[in-house]
Structures are given as C-alpha cells and as structure tokens.
C-alpha cells in the first residue's frame, strides 16, 4: 500500500514533545542584544517631543532610536495587494509626528538584557497631544469622524463592487420571499500561542543579514523587507523560520518590528533579538474580521433563491496591512454564492480606516465572514419560506452534475457534492431525534434550551492561479516551488517553498514523495522555511500548502521519474516510451522481469559512466507549480447547543462535521486541522472579541479579558468526510487548514438562534455571551 491516505505519525513530533524544538526566542547568538519597542498608549495623538535622556542613563542601554534615526532606511511597511483606486497611506516603521493606534511604535530601546530594555522603555518620555479617535468601521465614514490619514478622505481606503446590481434589483422586485439581516462580524485577535519574535544578525564583513523569525512565508518577508523596509539587496538577506508556534495568518504579514530589529542589528553590527509580550501581540498582530454588513436574500414561491446582495464596511485598522485589501473583497465577495445556485448577486465593500490595530488575513480570511452572511441568510430564508433550514438549503444547492459551476461572483467551482455531505451530517447527528428532543423540551419547558444549527460552507483554497491573482491586484504570483534532491543512495531530500508551522508538512510531504517513488517515508526528508536553502516560495496560508505546495512537489517528483525512465531505458536497452515506473522500480511495459530497481537507476545517474546522450549526471529536479484554479473544499457542519434558561450560558453539547477536502494525504492530520479550526470558530461564536472603547483603547489586550477557547468549555468533536477529488491538481487534494474556522461560527450562531426561536429572535451578533443571550430571552 502506498503512503498516501495513511495516518503516518508525525516526524516533527519527537523534537516538540521533548523540548528540543527551537523557536525563535530559544535561539542564542553570542553577544545578543535585546530590543523593546516603545509603543503609543494613545489611539490618536500628535507627538510633540520625545525625551530619551533618562532612558539613555539606564545602565545596560546600548542605543535608543526614533523615527529620526531610522529615516535613512525607512521606506516603511508596504501593502502587497492593491485594488483599483486604493488609498495606501504611508506606514513608517516608527511613527514620526502622529500615532494612529494603541501600540504604534515610537522608539526602540536596545539593551544588554530584556529586563533592562523594558526598564529603559519606561523611561522614554513622549509628549503626546491626544486627538479624538474613531474605532467603528461604519462610523469611520460618518460626516465629521476623526480622520486617520490626511490622504484618505472620509477614512475610505477603497470602495469595491462585484456582481450585477441591476439584475439583483429586478430579482428582488419579482421575488415572493425576502429576508434581510444587519450583522457585525466580531473583530478577533489571532493568538498564535508563540508571540511574534525576530533575531537579526548582521555581519558587517560580508554585509549579510540573517533573520530568524516567526514567519509563515520567509521569502515573501524577505522580499518586502528588502524592497521596502531596510535597504539591503535581497541576496544579502537570509530569513529562517525556525519552529514557529502557530500563525493563523498573523505571521504572514510584514510588520514594523522585525524590520526594526534587523535595522538595529545593521546599525550596531551585533545580533539583536525582539520578542513581543502577549499584550504587545494583542496590540500589534494584525486582527481579523471586523465587518459591519447589511445583507438581503430573495426567493421565489418554490423557495429557490433568486438574488442576494450585501453591503459591508470592513475595518482595515490604522494602516493597510500586507494583504488586507484582498480579504474583504476577493476572499469575501467572491464567496457569497456559498454552496448555492444563485442567479444574481451583488456585493459592495467599503474598506475603512480606524484608529485601531491593522486588520488582515486571519484563519479563513474573508471566507468565514462570507459563510456567516450566506448561512445566516439561508436560515432566515428557511423561516420566511417555511421550508426550514435543511430543505431550503437542499433546494438551492449547486447539484453534483453542474460542475464546473460558474458563480455570479467570478469563481468557477471545481467539483462538489453538497447534498452528500449534508445527508451524511444529518445521519451522524441523528437529526430527527434531536428535533424530537427539542420539541419535547419546548413543550414541557424543562431542561436547557436545545438548538441545532447548520453551516453548509464553501471555501476557495490553494490561493492561485498567478495570472488571476495578478489581475486582482496581488503584487506577487501565487504559485509554489519544490526541489527534489535524490541522493546517490536513493534517499531523498525535498525543499519546499511552503513553510509549515504546525501543519505537519515534513510528514505529509514525505508521504507524497514516498508514495510517488515507491520508497519508505523514512527515506524522505523535507526542508522548508529557509531562504538560503529552498527555492523562492510563497509560504503557507490560505489552506494552500497541500494543494499548491504538494502539487509542486508531485510535479518535481514526476520530473525525477521522467529522467529516471530515460536512464532506465538506456540501461535496459529499451525504448523510453516503453518504460513503466511502478512500486519503486523501472520495467519494460509487459515485461516485468526486465527491470531496474530505483536504487540502481539513481546510482547510475550519479556514476554517470554510461548515461544516454544529452542526459546530465545527477538526479535533482525543481518545479514551480502554478495551479489552474482555486480548489473548493466544502462540507456541512452541525452544532448542537444547550442554553441555560436562567443565565444565558451557551454550551456546545455536540459538534458534527462532514468535510470534503478532496483526496486526503494523512487522515490523522486532516482531522487535527478540522478540530483546531472548529475550536477557533466556536471561539468566535461564543467568546472571542477585540473590544475598543470610544477613544481607541484596546480593552482586551491580555488573556484576562480576551476569552479563548479552553478545554473545559469544548466537547470532543464528531468528524467525518466525503471525498470529491479536486480535478485540476495532480494529487486531487483541496486543502483543510481553514475549513473548521470558516464553518463553525455560522453553525454555532444558527444553533443558538434555533434554540431561541420561541422567543422570536431573528439575529444576535457574535460573541453570544451569557448576558446577550439572557437579554434576548428576557426582552
């Protein structure tokens, strides 16, 4: 049996369970200095002056820099995804005259010890003149709202539309049923459990800079760092991702801090380490979501959807982060068809500046927000039509024979069987019995309120293809690279442009290679996360690594096999076209006895004593794989919640998921990704929210106030799958990293609102806190 589809135990784990895994802050360089960034306590203020004298007097302080010092290199922090008519106000590494969010850097202290650096940071006295702030994404566009940037009037970063507005208007005019919703998609703080960190070491002799840092995409970081932030040529900079303790998007983006640490190292000629505290990460890691939306759906007399429209105010925070403009547009508006055949859709998104932490891609990035809009609307549609949540979805699914299916919002779904996933989920849940139990409880008024919620979700994964990405404003391609190096003894090292940080790539990618070459998984090593070792790659985000990075790897392996066939043909004195590679050996088609083992062919390639004409020695191939389309994983998730009638406390009693992520390389890892995603989405639905007060103070800057999912508040999950392979990549895989997070907020919210149905509640915004639910029951 091949290695694909097996729950191979992870090769990553031994180091991580024994404490040997080295994360950025674990790395030590001789003479390392420690940097602390002095941050604004005000959301909006002008800087009148900065007094560094007292801080300079703290013993152990090596240097203190402000914007005035960094200006020689300070090209700032760029935005890498541009929309038409996008306003991209300058984002300097350190604020010069004006701060725009709590946490905006104003100075950096470098000292011999991190405690001392913090002491000195407390002695930097900045004279701020506070100004009014604006924090609400829609409120930011109001007449007279405080302005974040002089060059973005009305705080508008962009005004983006997709779909046919007129067609939607006439669909609504002729519809039998309509439903609408105004909702807020709560702002989230990613909380990768390892805080962001960087260790930069500049070698003045060679003028080479090495940065070990918390990154999901070392090459992208190097490009942005060198092109825009620190003024070194790209080939002189090496970025390494050591062990990275989770990312969820927050370690994709290019922030000032890592560049500041690099700049300090260049300036001082010494290694400089910067490690964020948790309150710093909460203030500075790009946040997620933060939408205010108004959405409507229209259906005909048969319960068939005829139109959908949605207007969204998407908070961008104070500056446009790396991929921020793409998130509430191309990763959101394009997903508003959901799993449904909708003949007319129009979406309009206003991206607005507020005096808050920048907002960017966070696990799911646009797709959880889209799923939430669509799946809330479908529940409301089930109500207004009287069809209920299951039947109204069934009537509107894109049918299995309709693929490839072109939506009204620019995507072409590759493959799917939406009814199949729904049916399976209903069976696992025991839906009929659950409804009977719900009816019993409603009738006798006893026990907790029971609610059943659905989320039939679609996502677009494997961010690609490059041509499309380019047309949509990306300043980079979205392909992936892989290099396969076969050693003379037949073992293999592969170099991948993906950059895992918990996903288990070293295991799954080895499975892909081992399966294709017919060798043991243990004979394959996977290297990633180092710009000096691996070819330029795009990194890991958007559930792209298996679909794009894995496909690049499969393509490179296929090149190796093709070369092996030429060599084997020569060795076997046969025609290359007649050589078959199977189960780890090359043989002449129909003549299995006439064969050469993998190891013999590899050795021949390296001995090079007798190679065919025009075949170079060695066996090493590189592929840059650019997919033909996104992939479209889908599924149905069902949440079963119980609500305490007296306190409004919501408990997720059961959670059922049926995901279809195409072919599966490692079921154990796929399930693990689903579990984690579900938990994060339940967190959004019930507990998590970044809260700012009117003056832009972040009230949830520590774990004392930002509520994360904890073990005792979650159930074990009931996960299952259907398999509808991706038709356009060599592995047939679709991607799984974000599925749970995309699906579960809507499933849980729909379940809570289902439980509250007797109270006549149409909608409640997340998080569904006890007080909010209790008030809804008692209004």
């Amino acid at each position: 049996m091949g290695a694909l589809g097996q729950s191979v135990r992870r090769v990553e784990d031994h180091a991580l369970i024994t404490g040997r895994g080295l994360y950025t802050d674990d790395l030590v360089r001789p003479g390392v200095l420690h940097a602390v960034v002095v941050r604004s306590p005000f959301a909006h203020a002008t800087i009148a002056s900065i007094d560094l004298d007292a801080a300079r007097d703290v013993p152990g302080v090596v240097a203190i820099y402000t914007a005035d010092d960094l200006c020689d290199a300070d090209k700032g922090v760029p935005t890498a995804w541009l929309l038409p008519e996008l306003k991209t106000p300058a984002h300097p590494l350190l604020a010069r005259d004006r701060v725009r969010y709590v946490g905006d850097g104003v100075a950096v202290v470098v000292a011999t010890d991190r405690y001392i650096a913090r002491d000195a940071a407390e002695q930097v006295f900045v004279d701020y003149e506070p100004l009014d702030a604006v924090v609400d994404p829609k409120g930011a566009t109001a007449e007279g709202a405080p302005q974040v940037h002089d060059d973005a009037p009305g705080n508008l970063a962009f005004d983006w539309q997709l779909g046919d507005e007129d067609k939607v208007r006439s669909a609504f005019a002729s519809a039998t049923h309509r439903a609408e919703i105004t909702l807020r998609n709560n702002r989230l703080i990613p909380h990768a459990i390892e805080p962001r960190a960087a260790l930069a070491e500049f070698d003045p002799s060679t003028e080479e800079l090495t940065i070990w840092m918390t990154t999901q995409n070392p090459h992208v970081h190097r490009l942005l760092m060198t092109l825009a932030s620190i003024g070194l040529p790209e080939h002189k900079v090496r970025i390494v991702a050591p062990e990275v303790g989770g990312g969820f998007g927050s370690k994709i983006h290019h922030y000032p801090d890592e560049a500041i640490a690099a700049w300090c190292s260049m300036k001082l000629g010494k290694p400089v380490k910067w490690v964020a505290t948790r309150s710093e990460t909460n203030q500075t890691d790009a946040h997620g979501r933060d939408h205010v939306s108004h959405a409507e759906i229209a259906l005909d007399a048969d319960g068939k959807i005829v139109g959908l429209r949605c207007t969204t105010w998407a908070g961008m925070g104070s500056y446009l982060s790396t991929f921020a403009p793409a998130v509430p547009t191309y990763l959101y508006g394009t997903l508003l068809s959901g799993q449904y055949d909708i003949p007319a859709i129009h979406v309009r998104t206003y991206g607005t500046f507020t005096h808050t932490t920048p907002v960017d891609a966070y696990r799911g990035a646009g797709r959880p927000e889209a799923t939430f809009v669509v799946e809330r609307l479908l529940d409301l549609a089930g109500k207004v039509t009287g069809l209920g949540p299951v039947e109204v979805r069934r009537r509107n699914f894109v049918p299995p024979d309709a693929f490839p299916y072109a939506t009204q919002v620019a995507l072409e779904y590759d493959s799917g069987n939406y009814e199949g996933a729904l049916q399976k989920a209903l069976e696992i849940a025991g839906h009929d019995e659950l409804r009977a139990e719900q009816a019993r409880r409603r009738e006798n008024g006893e026990g907790k309120l029971l609610g059943i919620g659905f989320s039939c979700f679609i996502e677009a994964c494997g961010l690609a293809p490059s041509q499309v990405a380019g047309a949509l404003g990306a300043q980079a391609g979205l392909w992936e690279s892989a290099k396969v190096r076969v050693h003379p003894s037949g073992t293999v090292t592969v170099f991948s442009g993906s950059s895992g940080h918990g996903q288990g790539h070293k295991t799954t990618f080895a499975q892909v290679v081992a399966d294709r070459l017919g060798i043991d998984v243990g004979q394959v090593d996977v290297i990633q996360g180092d710009t000096e070792k691996v070819p330029f790659g795009m990194g890991t985000y958007g559930s792209r690594s298996a679909a794009v990075g894995g496909s690049a790897l499969a393509t490179a392996v296929d090149k190796v096999i093709a070369k092996g066939r030429r060599i084997a043909a020569h060795m076997l004195e046969a025609n290359e076209d007649d050589i078959v590679f199977e189960d780890g050996s090359f043989h002449v088609e129909g003549v299995p006895a006439k064969s050469k083992a993998w190891g013999d062919v590899v050795l021949a390639a390296y001995l090079a004593h007798d190679l065919p004409d025009a075949v170079e020695p060695g066996l090493e191939e590189t592929a840059f794989y650019d997919p033909a389309n996104f992939t479209y994983p889908f599924g149905t998730h069902i949440a079963v919640v119980e609500i305490d009638r007296d306190t409004g406390e919501v408990e997720v009693a059961r959670y059922i998921s049926v995901d279809d992520v195409g072919n599966v390389i490692n079921p154990m890892i796929v399930e693990g990704q689903v579990h984690g995603g579900i938990a994060q989405g339940i967190g959004q639905a019930l507990w998590e929210q970044a809260v700012y007060d009117d003056q832009g103070q972040l009230l949830t800057s520590t774990m004392l106030d930002y509520a994360l999912p904890r073990a005792h508040r979650l159930p074990s999950f009931e996960t299952d799958r259907t398999v509808t392979p991706c038709p356009h990549n060599p592995l047939g895989v679709k991607g799984v990293g974000e599925a749970g997070t995309i699906a579960s907020p809507a499933a849980v919210t729909n379940a809570v609102l289902d439980a509250l149905e007797p109270f006549g509640i149409d909608h409640l915004d997340m998080p569904l806190t006890p007080e909010k639910v209790w008030r809804a029951m008692n209004r």
């Binding site: 007296d646 406390e649 209790w774």
Partner: protein, 277 residues
C-alpha cells in the same frame, strides 16, 4: 512580562517578616505571588521591596483545635481543596478552593495571598463571609482578629494595615450543608458572580463575590430560603442585600446582569447546600 527591579528579603519567621516590613517603605509581602507577580509583570505594581514569607512554616497548614479550624495564610488552594480536616470539619472553603482558576494556580497560590489582594472577583471572600470566618493579623506590637465581614474594606483593599502581616483564618466547624456556585468569567476564570451558602442548622448564610467591590452579605436571603420562601421571595431578599452596593460593570457582565446572576447563583448555592446537608 519583566518586573521592575526590587530589593528582595526572605523572612525566616513571623517576627523577622514584621521586622523587615517595619524597616522598608513601599514593601510588599510575597506569598505564592499569584496575585502580585502578574501585576508586577505588567508593571502595574512596582514595589521597591519584596518580603518573601514563603518559607515560614508557622504560616502553613490546616489545624483543628477546640471547635475551630485554623488555616495558615500560606496554605495553598490545592492544600485547602484536599485537606481532610477541612473537608471533614468546614468543607465550604475546600469546595470553593477546588474551583479557583486551574491546578497550577491552585498548587502555588495561597489563601493569604488571595484574600490580602482582595480582588473582588476572587472566589474566597464570599466563602469567608458566609462562614463568619475571623482573620488574624499581626503587627510588630500586637495581634488582632478581624471578622471576615470587616476584612474586605474596598476594591483591592483590606483591614491589613501597613507593617502588618496576615497570619491565618479561623473557621467555625460546619455541617455538610454548604455550597459554592460560580459563573466563570470566560477569559480569566475569575468569578463574575460567586455565591457561597451555608445551611447547616447552626448557620443560615449566603454571600457573594464578583458582583461588587467587596463581598455582599446576603444572609437574610438565606433565612428566607430556609424558611421556605418561594423563588420570588428569595430573589427579593438577594436584591435587598445588593442594594447599597455599586454592582461591578465590565466587558463580561453589566451591573444589571450581575444582579440577576446573583439571584440565580444565590438560589443555586442555597439549593445545593440544602441538598448536601
């Protein structure tokens, strides 16, 4: 994450601790540190001197003498929760201590540190009030005992004065008719509302933490409950006890909601205490 510098002294005895306290201005007593160190790491507290009392064995442990259980200030929450003496003689404190935070906090955090910090959302203040506990405090020249009801003076403020050391808590023995019920703050695990009830024939008490700056004594509500008052009557008595307190109002619960939670958790604690008795 990095506390500001301070001078550190380790006290060998209670007298030594008092001597050190007398000798240093702006000194803080360090017990387990689970209330103090988080504040220092965020630099919300920057004491010049820390006096570590963690090695004073005389401050540790649970003793039963006469009709009183005496619990040393340094006794950890885990020791409270697992003390056979406490579970047998005065089980409410053990039951509440088992609900504090998580095992690692319970293993190092102490009774004395907890109540001396007087965080209103902490789990123990209401328990001590409901038990009519008495708290022993020593200064250099004298020792005094304060009723739990008088110990919690205000937000993060107790009857322990500068230069004094909290020694121990004296609890009466009770029957098994006790209960602590809490609504957990979803981020921190502290109490949004915690209700401690004692219904053991001897005492008919109810008290809350988490709802106001200091514990709320609601023993009249316990009496209404014990006398067979219906839900509305008990609720009214709880509301009456809350009158005169400014109810806490934060991201997790408004004052209104806390008031409502007090009626729910108050009744639940009372019902559980009756069931356990």
């Amino acid at each position: 994450m990095y506390p500001a510098p301070f001078d550190y002294y380790r006290a060998d005895s209670i007298d030594h601790a008092l001597e050190l306290l007398g000798a240093h201005d702006d000194a803080k007593v360090l017990a387990g540190g689970h209330s103090l160190l988080p504040m220092m790491k965020l630099r919300l507290a920057q004491p010049e001197t820390l006096i570590d009392i963690g090695r004073i064995d005389a401050l540790r442990g649970v003793r039963f003498e006469g009709d009183t259980v005496t619990v040393g200030a340094l006794t950890t929450h885990h020791e409270l929760a697992s003390s056979d003496v406490l579970r047998g003689k005065s089980p409410l404190l053990a039951a509440a201590a088992a609900q504090i935070a998580d095992p690692a906090v319970r293993n190092f955090g102490t009774l004395g540190g907890n109540i001396a910090h007087a965080d209103p959302a902490s789990d123990l203040p209401a328990v001590l009030v409901a038990l009519d506990a008495r708290i022993s405090i020593r200064g250099t020249s004298s020792e005094r005992t304060v009723d739990a009801g008088d110990f919690f003076v205000g937000l993060l403020e107790t009857a322990v004065e500068e230069g004094e050391l909290l020694l121990s808590v004296e609890l009466p023995t009770t029957g098994t008719g006790v209960a602590y019920a809490k609504s957990e703050q979803q981020a921190s695990g502290y109490a949004v509302c915690g209700a401690a009830a004692v219904l053991d024939g001897e005492r008919t008490n109810l008290a809350f933490n988490g709802v106001a700056a200091t514990p709320v004594d609601a023993r009249d509500a316990a009496k209404v409950f014990a006398d067979g008052g219906d839900e509305a009557a008990v609720n009214a008595a709880i509301r009456a006890a809350l009158d005169g307190h400014d109810l806490l109002d934060d991201l997790f619960a408004s004052g209104d909601f806390r008031g409502h939670l007090a009626t729910v958790y108050g009744r639940r604690a009372l019902a559980a205490a009756r069931a356990a008795g």
